[in-house]
């Protein structure tokens, strides 16, 4: 929609009688007169924009409608931390979502090596001094050399290369409206030295940036940008312009580099019926969209990714694409799926072979419509799809694939039940989900049947944190789930003072087992990678430290 009336289309007026056409013209002119003659509506739009800025600067829990009940101010008697004038609680699950992707991608790599070990450790108390980066087997270790001490206004999670975790990419950006120069950098030695990277467009026109390293090659890296200059943006990629203010532009661009970010080339992507899009690779390009966990997934030399429409036409789409040349070119591999459904909710390749799995919905994914979800399987890398059956519940929040000891594919999904449909103060319906480890289900027959995970193994008074879906799997095929106290409200993560503890389970086990100590702070990325000699594995954690004036990252390392 533009400021002006959308052009009259031939389809719309071609068959109108002369009288109807007269009415059409009357309404057309009346609407145009109303739009241009109501400055109060324009002023309201400006006030809404101001309000949106205020909301962005505040914590979600600090904002409530007058129709809402008061939010709790304590969790088990512990006040939330207050920083400046803003009461900080939580945050946004998007960062973890995007990052979990890294974990999933790496877990696929790790599954080939079979090097994970079960462990139990002491926890690191909050506020402990950063230590050197010598990993120990009994605790998380702060990696000060990777600490990002610079405060930022808007950027994405650091991207740890799955194939070589010593290679890390970072972005610094400051929101579209600030017009401050964004910077990119890369380390090849775990943060000992950093290399500044060029930006493919003017740095002060970058509003947000996200990077993702290929699971096949640490120096093949993808860069997603929001830019605020029309000069940098093809016309068909400009998001509906103009209405947020004079000359306001929001444009998504995506680039690929095969030399660690030294040189960038626009990514060669297909279009969805003429609508351009971007790969769903990180928090910037996907916003934590669940499709393929917002990351690149490797199956042998083939790559899979989600594809989000991102063009001027603002057409909603969520597609599945694949590349057979290391990510240089991409093709849709979802023709059968799109013929039978309106939305691909989730998709993942099996760790080996050419099997790909997908979940589709006849309407929106995860909405209050509670539509029956369909499970699909492709045995030929997405060229053809077979309908397997329906999912046990209409709520599919995350899916993971792994291999058991015999090489059989395990498909895990978080499938909470709808315990009730709540009604908000505006009369809108939304589902209330169950919150049990039994909501984790596994299929050993490619989605034909599903079985619940047990609930035993975690302390009483604790519950899974499904905000980000299940994690993993580990190399033995186990799925990983973060666990939090029951008393933590469902919408609280981030500065959760209790932290999260990681537990794992696989088919055949009667109980969940703890695999890592509790960590504090806002867990935003979890990455598991085998050591070069295959003797152990290392689990990397990225924690976001939030403050009133900006945010920084802390990296934690632990050897399994």
């Amino acid at each position: 929609m533009q400021n002006d009336f959308s052009p009259i289309g031939d389809d719309e007026t071609r068959d109108l009688s002369s009288e109807d056409r007269l009415l059409y013209d009357m309404l057309h002119d009346a609407g145009a007169a109303w739009r241009t003659g109501t400055p109060e509506v324009t002023a309201l739009g400006d006030r809404l924009a101001d309000r949106a800025r205020m909301l962005s600067a505040a914590s979600p829990s600090n904002v409530r409608s007058p129709h809402q009940q008061d939010c709790p101010t304590t969790v088990e008697g512990v006040p939330y931390q207050t920083r400046g004038s803003t009461t900080m609680t939580h945050q946004p699950y998007g960062r973890l979502r995007g990052a979990i992707a890294a974990f999933a991608a790496i877990a696929v790599v790790a599954a080939f090596t079979g090097v994970f070990m079960t462990m139990t450790r002491a926890h690191v108390s909050p506020g402990s001094s950063p230590s050197t980066a010598s990993a120990r087997k009994d605790q998380w270790v702060d990696l000060t050399r990777l600490d990002n001490a610079a405060e930022f206004g808007s950027n994405d999670l650091p991207a740890i290369a799955p194939s070589d975790p010593q290679v890390v990419y970072e972005t610094f950006a400051y929101n579209e409206q600030q017009h401050k120069a964004a910077t990119l950098r890369r380390t090849d030695d775990g943060g000992a030295t950093w290399h500044a990277l060029p930006t493919p467009v003017r740095a002060d026109e970058i509003g947000a940036a996200g990077m993702a390293a290929s699971p096949l090659d640490a120096h093949t890296v993808y860069l997603t940008l929001y830019v605020n200059s029309a000069a940098d943006c093809p016309s068909n990629r400009v998001q509906p312009p103009g209405e947020g203010g004079a000359s306001y532009v929001l444009c998504w661009l995506q680039y690929r580099s095969t030399d660690g970010g030294a040189h960038w080339a626009p990514l060669d992507l297909p279009s969805a019926n003429g609508v351009p899009g971007v790969l769903n690779l990180d928090g910037t390009s996907g916003g934590g969209a669940p499709l393929l966990n917002g990351s690149l997934h490797a199956q042998g030399s083939r790559l899979y990714a989600g594809f989000n429409c991102a063009g001027a036409q603002n057409v909603v789409c969520q597609r599945l694409v694949s590349s057979t040349d290391g990510g240089a070119h991409w093709q849709f591999v979802d023709a059968d799926l799109m013929a039978g459904a309106t939305r691909i909710c989730d998709a993942l390749p099996a760790p080996t072979g050419s099997t790909v799995l997908a979940v589709t919905s006849p309407s929106d994914c995860g909405s209050s419509k509670q539509a029956t979800l369909t499970f699909w399987r492709s045995a030929d890398a997405g060229a053809h799809w077979t309908r397997v059956g329906t999912m046990p519940t209409p709520n599919e929040i995350g899916m993971r694939t792994g291999s058991d000891a015999n090489g059989n594919t395990l498909v895990y999904a978080e499938l909470p039940r709808t315990t009730s449909l709540a009604t908000d103060k505006m009369g809108g319906k939304y589902p209330i989900y169950s919150s049990s480890l039994a909501d984790v289900e596994v299929s050993v027959d490619a989605g034909v049947t599903w079985q619940h995970a047990p609930t035993a193994g975690i302390p009483s008074g604790f519950k899974p944190d499904f905000t980000f879906g299940p994690l993993g799997p580990l190399s033995d095929g186990s799925i990983v789930v973060p666990v939090i106290p029951q008393s933590v409200p469902d919408n609280v993560t981030g500065d959760n003072p209790y932290g999260v503890t990681l537990y794992a389970w696989k088919p055949g086990d009667t109980a969940w087992r703890q695999i890592a100590p509790k960590n504090y702070g806002e867990t935003s990325a979890l990455l598991v990678t085998p050591s070069s000699d295959g003797s152990n594995s290392t689990l990397y954690l990225v924690v976001v430290n939030r403050s009133g004036s900006g945010n920084t990252f802390t990296f934690l390392e632990d050897q399994l």
Binding site: M1, D4, F5, S6, P7, D11, E12, S18, E19, D20, R21, L22, L23, D25, M26, L27, H28, D29, A30, G31, A32, A33, W34, R35, G37, T38, E40, V41, L44, G45, D46, L48, A49, R51, A52, R53, L55, P60, V63, R64, S65, P92, Y93, R95, G153, S154, P240, E243, G244, G245, L250, G283, G286, G287, A310, N314, Q318, M426, G427, G428
Partner: protein
């Protein structure tokens, strides 16, 4: 979705939210309705997963809030067409003035005809002509194929014409604008 990105992605569409709200509940009520829609979007932001669809998502919320506003979920009970009628009347009078006519009767006839349209047709007329959306965007918003929107629009025009022809003929002055093409 990160809450820091809320403003970045939402601001380009606040003018559209304001316009939709004003068209559906009137300029006076639009302030509260649109603010409520914005808060509702904020509360749902962490679960929102499709930034490319943010515009559609925001406008759907706005339409839903306005619908509930009209049917009384906010303690108000308003005729759904009242704001559009007022807007249409004022705008149509302005159009008539531009065309050199003061034929207020046609304006009143059209207002009355709009009042008698069903809710779904009135919504399409409001979004098409007063908000200025095309059939494709309306279809995405209402989860209806664009062709269906065009069909309903023709149906609305036919019903308006029938309603008006039953009361008075269209203004001869306005009729002169009928060129049959565009």
């Amino acid at each position: 979705m990160e809450h820091e990105r809320f403003a970045t992605l939402v601001i380009p569409h606040t003018a559209a939210m304001a316009r939709v709200a004003a068209a559906l509940v009137g300029a006076v009520e639009a302030e509260d309705a649109a603010q409520e829609a914005l808060l509702r979007a904020w509360r749902g932001w962490s679960a929102f997963r499709e930034p490319s669809a943010v515009r559609t998502w925001l406008l759907r919320i706005t339409i839903n809030v306005c619908h509930n506003w009209q049917v009384g979920h906010f303690g108000l009970s308003r005729r759904a067409t009242e704001p559009l009628e007022s807007a249409a009347e004022e705008a149509l009078v302005a159009v008539g003035a531009e065309l050199g006519t003061s034929d207020h009767a046609s304006v009143l006839d059209l207002r009355r005809a709009l009042t008698n349209l069903s809710d779904d047709l009135r919504l399409i007329v409001a979004l098409r002509f007063f908000v200025g959306m095309d059939a494709t965007e309306i279809g995405i918003l209402l989860d209806v194929p664009p062709a269906t929107i065009r069909t309903r629009l023709r149906r609305a025009l036919a019903l308006l014409r029938e309603a008006m022809s039953g009361e008075s003929a269209l203004s001869p002055t306005l009729s002169t604008r009928d060129g049959g093409g565009n």
